[in-house]
């Protein structure tokens, strides 16, 4: 039996200080063409910090990286582990 896909969705995640700043941890948006557009839709066009990092499907990416149905896009500040 074939599975029917009803709608497109992109999962958007925020971490650390950026999560607190936008006041969201995770949400699903219907569609976006680039990671930057996903940011604009998810945050209602909030200003993106200059040093913000972007990941698409667990790899570092850019705001102009293309995104597709089922992708996971994450936004976070510079990393401070170790």
């Amino acid at each position: 039996m074939q599975e029917t896909i009803n709608h497109m969705s992109i999962q958007v995640k925020f971490f650390a200080s950026l999560r607190e700043k936008v006041g969201m941890e995770e949400l699903s948006i219907d569609a976006a063409v680039t990671a930057g557009e996903a940011w604009n839709i998810a945050t209602d066009n909030a200003e993106a910090p200059d040093n913000m990092l972007v990941a698409v499907n667990l790899d570092y990416a850019q705001l102009n990286t293309a995104v597709f149905d089922g992708d996971e896009v994450a936004f976070f500040p510079p990393v401070t582990g170790g």
């Binding site: 650390a16 570092y60 994450a74 976070f76 500040p77 401070t80 582990g81 170790g82």
Partner: protein, 146 residues
Amino acid sequence: MASHIIESSFDPWQRIQQHQAESNLAKQFGATATFVGSMRDFNDGDDVSAMTLEHYPAMTQRYLDKLEADAKQQWPALLDCLIIHRVGDLNPSDPIVLIACWSAHRRAALDATSWLIEALKTQAPFWKKETRQDGAQWVEKNTDGH
């Protein structure tokens, strides 16, 4: 090669011994190089009483594994390596990160250890939030190569 992200306190020296005891390459290990990063009770002139480490679970695991694979590619003489990184709530003097590398001779182990800690600090998605006298604050960036 192994990497672990853990939520409770760990003893880096015990983990090195354990890893070595369980390795089937142990008789080829002529050199063991290690880096252990621990939590300080000060930062930028402020007293720090506690710390919380947040991460992006799937991506951190992917990057720790990737960094080990990259190190093996850069130093083919590298026989094995182990990375352990804490997340969650930490207190001063708690170990945060362990990097251990093994090779037959010292150069690959020493160089790979040094490279791995710098690469981890710039690529692996972990974030520190420190509790200072004036409240909790995110660490904005890591010191560059200190």
